[in-house]
């Protein structure tokens, strides 16, 4: 039975039959390739060196012939004119109206240029996300983040406004003040990283004596910036703490806001396929994976971003197609469980491949443990050693032995590894607002 079309932001694209969607993607890929070749010196040289011309790409399968580009290339071109972006940009510099940059956690920041067209486009992608998550004109949305040089929730702010929500910028306020403003103004939704969503709930309880689930009016939370929103145990904690639905979103500064969970919460995230092409590449063979359930790294193209095109960007993020469909009726494919790791983050410890997200999934699934933890991988002589630091929830200290034994069992089942576990006083491990650094591999430094 057809769904009520009003559940979609744009039923024309969101319910497009798969074969038509693929035709649309091919057409849009060819268009952005042609644009980049004609307007960006970097892309023109890059493709010329590879012996490729835009006319060579005729079918969907031909797209795989287009060389991938990487973050390192984006950094290199910044040495060239025009300052500060380099010759990857495809518009005259005076047409750029917004500067943002990546956080630089993995090296020199990458600068992002947007024209007004790009910025409107970015806000529009957020409309697809927020509308699918139930945001409507009647919502009062609080943004408790530091409005600064990073793109973070800037586009979400503009997107929510575009959708018609009432948007409250909670920038230069501390956590307590943000919670109180959300309470006083009866906000119905907010957006933050999973770490901060949990941290705010803790602050509300411990410093303000408030129970967010009972004392605030939050019904929806959009979680972004870290994988927590895709990890069921972390999501459950957030939902219980706030008495609200938590929906995940995944975006990339270099590309755009490409993935989101809808209100059906099928366990995976839709890819905004009318705006982005996501390809999954086998980590060993390099072949493109179409079948569900197999992990590979994501290669992504942004179809409509013009000032600084992102074409076949090798993200190094590991994802997989879901084996299930979503009952919401959107034809956009789902990825299963969000970003399941980083191609360069998955490390061998004691000869076993370990993804830090697996440790998070275990720790966050045990309610007697605090929300924060730290993992330190080091060398003890010739052997790898994994130290896991955790906190026990107040009032549960007497159960330490049984909690730790359950934790170690679960870690062994989920990761095939043994850990040394240290218990720290509740509230003593670092709390992060963005880009939590809970996993530290110090083996290389020691050798």
């Amino acid at each position: 039975m057809p769904k009520d079309q009003r559940i979609y932001w744009n039923p024309l694209l969101e319910t497009l039959p798969r074969e038509k969607l693929r035709a649309l993607q091919t057409k849009k890929f060819r268009r952005i390739l042609d644009w980049a070749y004609s307007n960006s010196p970097f892309y023109r040289n890059f493709y010329k060196e590879a012996g490729l011309e835009p006319g060579d790409i005729k079918t969907f399968e031909d797209i795989r012939k287009v060389p991938k580009m990487e973050k390192g290339m984006m950094r290199e071109v910044q040495q060239k004119d025009p300052f500060p972006y380099g010759d990857m940009i495809a518009v005259p510099i005076e047409k750029v109206t917004a500067f943002r940059q990546t956080s630089g956690t993995t090296g020199t920041p990458v600068y992002q240029a947007c024209t007004w067209d790009d910025w409107e486009w970015w806000a529009e992608t957020w409309c697809y996300i927020l509308y699918a998550q139930g945001y409507r004109e009647s919502d009062r949305v609080f943004l408790p983040f530091g409005y600064n040089i990073f793109v973070a929730f800037w586009a979400a702010h503009y997107g929510a406004e575009r959708l018609g929500c009432e948007v409250i910028p909670g920038g230069a306020l501390n956590t307590e003040a943000r919670i109180l403003r959300m309470k006083d103004l009866k906000c119905t939704a907010f957006m933050a990283t999973p770490t901060y969503i949990l941290g705010m709930a803790e602050t509300a309880k411990n410093k303000l004596g408030l129970d967010p689930a009972r004392d605030l009016d939050i019904a929806m939370i959009t979680s972004a910036g870290e994988p927590g929103g895709c990890i069921p145990a972390t999501k459950k904690r957030m939902e219980e703490a706030w008495g609200a639905k938590v929906y995940d979103h995944i975006g990339l500064t270099e590309v755009g806001s490409w993935s989101y969970e809808c209100t059906e919460q099928p366990g995976g995230q839709h890819v905004l396929e009318a705006y982005f092409l996501v390809e999954i590449e086998d980590l060993e063979t390099g072949e493109i994976i179409e079948k569900p359930g197999r992990n590979g790294k994501m290669i992504i193209t942004s179809f409509d971003r013009l000032a600084k095109p992102s074409i076949r960007f090798d993200t190094k993020d590991v994802i997989r197609w879901a084996e299930y469909d979503c009952p919401c009726g959107r034809t956009f494919r789902l990825i299963d469980g969000g970003i399941v790791g980083r191609a360069d983050d998955i490390t061998k410890v004691k000869g076993v491949l370990l993804a830090p997200t697996a440790i998070e999934a275990v720790v966050r699934s045990i309610p007697e443990l605090g929300p924060e933890f730290e993992v330190i991988v080091s060398k003890k002589g010739e052997l790898d050693d994994i130290l896991l630091r955790v906190e026990i929830m107040p009032g549960k200290e007497g159960e330490e032995q049984s909690i730790l034994s359950h934790l170690k069992d679960q870690l062994r089942v989920r990761t095939n590894l043994g850990y040394r576990v240290e218990v720290h006083p509740y509230g003593s491990l670092p709390r992060y607002e963005v880009k939590a650094k809970r996993f530290k591999d110090i083996r290389k430094k020691e050798t």
């Binding site: 744009n10 039923p11 024309l12 694209l13 497009l16 038509k20 035709a23 649309l24 057409k27 849009k28 007004w116 067209d117 910025w119 409107e120 486009w121 529009e124 009318a274 705006y275 409509d304």
Partner: protein, 58 residues
């Protein structure tokens, strides 16, 4: 949505682009006109992405 309705919408969007560009040309040198049209065109671009692109693959 039936295809004829979609075609009508696309025609209106094309007309909006033509009109906005004509206005920009007419108002050349008047920043207040040029920049207002740029903002209008950014949204016409989204209508093209959201509506006209669909028509072309049906």
């Amino acid at each position: 949505m039936d295809i004829s309705m979609l075609e009508e919408m696309c025609e209106l969007i094309k007309k909006m682009r033509r009109d906005a560009e004509a206005l920009k040309a007419k108002g050349k040198g008047i920043m207040a006109v040029e920049k207002a049209v740029d903002r209008i065109l950014a949204n016409v671009n989204l209508l093209e992405i959201n509506v006209c692109d669909v028509k072309e693959v049906l």
